[in-house]
Symmetry: C2
Subunit: 403 residues, 2 copies
């Protein structure tokens, strides 16, 4: 058989990084590469009880469910969102297989091949992949510590006439930064004036550090103060605040947008696991999710603090970073002459891994960045990881200076 694949497979090419990280399998490598929450803080007993409660309802729980998702869970999420200033009814919400599927479905119903999507520079690599598979043209907008540059956004909207902008304003992946209120408002304002849809991806929003108040980082969606007719479509997930295996995310927005997303989802997979959705509903009824989120915040902040302290202690020449106000990552800038993909090869030899920054750029990549995850590694391993990283860097510097 001579297989004749579609053009789309080109956009799903395996990255060089993935190939390098494959080398880590089966070895005692300490990985700062993944985006994994820490299983130590999964509410495993509560989740187990939640499943048992589901089974108390009888056999009906195992039947096909609604494409939109389990109605009582949509109601629970609606209450949860109200605490964040997001006021939506269940007709403004679709449950998805993680927020990754939300990105994919919105791209299907909103983007035609050749349409332009603006993204942050840098941005989430798996979103880039979805947009590329749709043959969209992806254009990066300049960003600084406060978020997207409003001047560059305005300029690129005029130049490229985008249909959509994709942003992670709160504790971004990979950069860990939180946008200022002014940038959030400015982006909303500019996009509304130009009829550009905003896809606000918010998987990390709950993971804020420093005892920040719940309204410290208002979502762009909440700033628009309307669900129907909103310029913003918002997505989040239980993956980081409960557990990823349950694969439950949500996407909220205008009812017509949700209707089209629901029809696309029906063709894509009929519906996501309704076992997981029913269990999450039971969990939200019987478990103190907010006390649990407080615990995660405290633990993750301590790990972030340790990582930043180690970066300071190593005192590598010309290395910079912005201390994250939340989330799961520190985004580290190395001196210009350090190619982090090259560094990764040496790091893997030294038995430590990270993600080189290249993959997070939709266009011209910066080659001297690296993303370090601080949530999944325990304290002793973190120290070891930095010693290994130090050895890899010293080897690299020797090679570079020898050239």
């Amino acid at each position: 058989m001579n297989y004749r694949f579609s053009d789309t497979i080109e956009s799903f090419k395996s990255s060089a990084v993935r190939e390098i990280l494959k080398l880590t399998q089966g070895r005692s490598i300490i990985s700062l590469a993944g985006g994994l929450p820490n299983e130590q803080y999964f509410p495993t007993d509560a989740v187990k009880q939640a499943f048992n409660r589901v089974f108390e309802q009888g056999s009906g729980v195992l039947q096909y469910g609604l494409t939109e998702g389990f109605t009582p869970l949509r109601q629970s999420i609606s209450k949860h969102l109200a605490r964040k200033g997001i006021h939506v009814g269940i007709d403004n919400m679709l449950l998805t297989t993680g927020s990754q599927q939300a990105i994919d479905l919105l791209t299907r119903v909103y983007i035609d091949p050749g349409d332009v999507i603006l993204v942050e520079r840098p941005t989430y690599l798996a979103a880039i992949q979805v947009f590329q598979s749709r043959k969209a043209t992806i254009v990066s907008v300049d960003c600084d510590a406060d978020g997207m540059s409003l001047e560059d956004l305005e300029r690129k909207i005029q130049k490229y006439l985008p249909k959509m902008i994709y942003v992670i304003p709160t504790f971004s992946n990979p950069s860990g930064k939180a946008w200022s209120l002014e940038r959030r408002k400015g982006t909303l304002d500019i996009c509304k004036r130009n009829n550009v849809l905003i896809l606000e991806d918010d998987p990390y929003g709950e993971l804020r550090f420093g005892g920040a108040a719940s309204d410290a980082f208002p979502t762009i969606f909440s700033l628009d103060e309307q669900a129907n007719g909103s310029a913003v479509v918002y997505t989040s997930t239980f993956s980081k605040i409960v557990a990823p295996a349950l694969r439950t995310g949500w996407i909220v927005g205008d009812q017509t947008v949700i209707m089209h997303l629901t029809r696309a989802k029906q063709a894509a997979d009929l519906h996501s696991s309704s076992m997981d959705q029913q269990a999450l509903h039971q969990l939200m009824e019987h478990f103190d999710l907010y006390a649990h989120i407080d615990l995660i915040r405290t633990e993750y902040e301590a790990r972030m603090r340790q990582m930043v302290d180690l970066l300071k202690a190593k005192n590598w020449d010309g290395v910079r970073w912005i201390e994250p106000k939340g989330g799961m990552f520190v985004w580290v800038e190395m001196p210009k002459h350090i190619n982090t993909s090259e560094l990764l090869k040496l790091a893997v030899e030294e038995e430590v891994a990270f993600v080189p920054g290249e993959s997070f750029f939709a266009d011209e990549p910066e080659t001297n960045m690296m993303r370090l995850n601080f949530t999944h590694t325990n304290s002793e391993e973190m120290v070891l990881a930095f010693d290994r990283l130090d050895r890899a860097l010293q080897r690299m510097l020797q090679t570079v200076s020898a050239r």
Copy 2:
């Protein structure tokens, strides 16, 4: 906000049927419309135990899983498939959110807009929707009681140069028929000669009646006698033999095909629920799935028998059907002048529902067909349903003759 949706939404239009069936909600309508397995036969206790066994493994079970799916479950499915003459390793298999997602992913990686896909006449309506959303050209091949017409298949391959053919050879949805061995072999032979990929959709294959042996209806995939390089990609699901809420299907085929599907799935949703996958693995280890399937077969056959007996007893003028050898549906042909979409409106008034045949045709629909599901309705309701259907039909005949 003036939303600017993609062209794709056109293919996800809500059907007239779906609108009519919405009217059934909240009323005491007996539905022969759905494709629901009977919750009475879900192995609920065993599934509950399986979940509890998963939680005995510790918190790690709640972490992100592999895009390919939980490895031990892929091994269990591999053993299960070997009983059906399908010999594949785990690298030949991807786990999906039901077989619906398998259809969607293969369409993405194999079909470009404008490519031709051949299908049975009639065929599964949600597959048509996926192909349309990809802007494929769908061409129906004539079928009779033994399956696809090999002459028409050959002719349409020459005429339309299709890239793929989509078939449900065993207890088809909607027609309930099982292809003869000759047609299976013939289709494989013709497709191999012409380099046309076969997508074999087999959700119902285990539900065979009349004590048929396990090799009575060999899959086309098994006839090709190779996984790598095969002209066939095969998909099935736990939805009909365990329960749909667990949303776990699989797609098997050549390793390169599976690799591309896996990359597409990674962008689509990272992975399906690994809770469900882990529970299904425990179920397959600790539960006699084959005794359970025997039970379902017996019960569903009895219901099919009752439905066919009721059809005979009603003795409607000019009504015909082929008695199913398995599966979940009887496909009923009404006299030419009976439009079943019109009949459905009257049926809903009489508080019974079915699916009119129209939706199952990719091109010129036949308007006098209806699909009746026999798995979900109990014995007393089935009798009532046919009385109501009879009243609707008599009302329709009066209107037709009065015209």
